[in-house]
Amino acid sequence: RILPEYSSTVIAVDAHTTATWHGFTRFLDAGKGSQVSGMSELKKYFSRFGYLPIPDTNNFTDIFDKEFQSAVLAYQTNLGLPVTGELDSDTISTIVSPRCGVSDTKTHNATFHATKH
């Protein structure tokens, strides 16, 4: 099913989850162009671990835009996941998994600046 680039498929979801990050499972299979209520919280997660710069407005949107897709691609590369650019099950299960608080990229303003070997 090919979605026109900027149409938005609004997915009704229950926004109230309490477990740390467990609520992110509701974004399963979201991809570019989709809009899911609460996706801004997931973007904060990506920002915290170095994949998304904080916008000038200081607020993230709920839209799965091009910039967020780049962040997802970088995350998948960094975590050794299949690089799909979508929130597939491997990616979501890694996102909700407990982890170390150290950013994956130590320079916040660059998407990927740790020196990989």
């Binding site: 477990a19 740390t20 990050w21 671990f49 890694t94 407990p98 982890r99 130590k106 070997h117």
Partner: protein, 192 residues
């Protein structure tokens, strides 16, 4: 493996000895201090085996190179913890030495006695954070100790080749280190 930006490391005259201490006011009570010491000693020794750096516990927390404590939520470093699971711990790159663990977790030494579904292995997280203290960033190799995520009720303490190559590129190799000595110690610790 990866390094922090600028590839920071502890620059000391050989023999390199880094001291560590526990924050007496910020410990968890359900694991005794002695047992916690034993766990951390084992975690430090895994890195000692591969690089020419040794670690020594001291009492004087403020003067230690590596300062370890368990904290809830906001704890003064701008990186608040977030309750059960989520972020488990963090440590700062050289030569900062701060090493914090989330006191909200259910820290476990083994999963026979601790039945909780959200139990987190203390030794695995300690071994991972020591890698950060030494200068390693996160690895994309899932089996590596320096991989960023760790599932509840799972244990990952044995350094993998990715971890060893990374830390040895920073500090050189421990002269007594051989991969066979590593495998031997893995076997003995698994039997233990």
């Amino acid at each position: 493996f990866a390094y922090f930006y600028g590839k920071p490391r502890w620059v000391r005259q050989a023999p390199v000895v880094l001291t560590y201490a526990f924050s007496q006011n910020n410990m968890i009570s359900y694991i005794s201090l002695n047992v916690t010491r034993t766990v951390f000693k084992r975690a430090f020794s895994r890195w000692e085996q591969v690089i020419p750096v040794s670690f020594m516990e001291i009492e004087d927390y403020p003067s230690a190179d590596i300062r370890i404590g368990f904290y809830y939520g906001h704890h003064g470093d701008g990186q608040p913890f977030d309750g059960v699971l989520g972020v488990l711990a963090h440590a700062f790159s050289p030569e900062n030495g701060r090493f914090h663990l989330d006191a909200s977790e259910t820290w476990a030494l083994d999963f026979e006695t601790v039945k909780s579904r959200v139990a987190v292995d203390l030794e695995s997280v300690a071994t991972h954070e020591i890698g950060h203290v030494l200068g390693l960033a996160h690895s994309s190799v899932k089996e590596a100790v320096m991989y960023p995520s760790l599932s509840p009720r799972s244990k990952k303490v044995d350094l993998k080749i990715d971890d060893i190559n990374g830390v040895q590129a920073l500090y050189g190799s421990n002269p007594n280190f051989t991969f066979s000595s590593l495998l031997a110690s893995e076997k003995s610790s698994n039997k233990g």
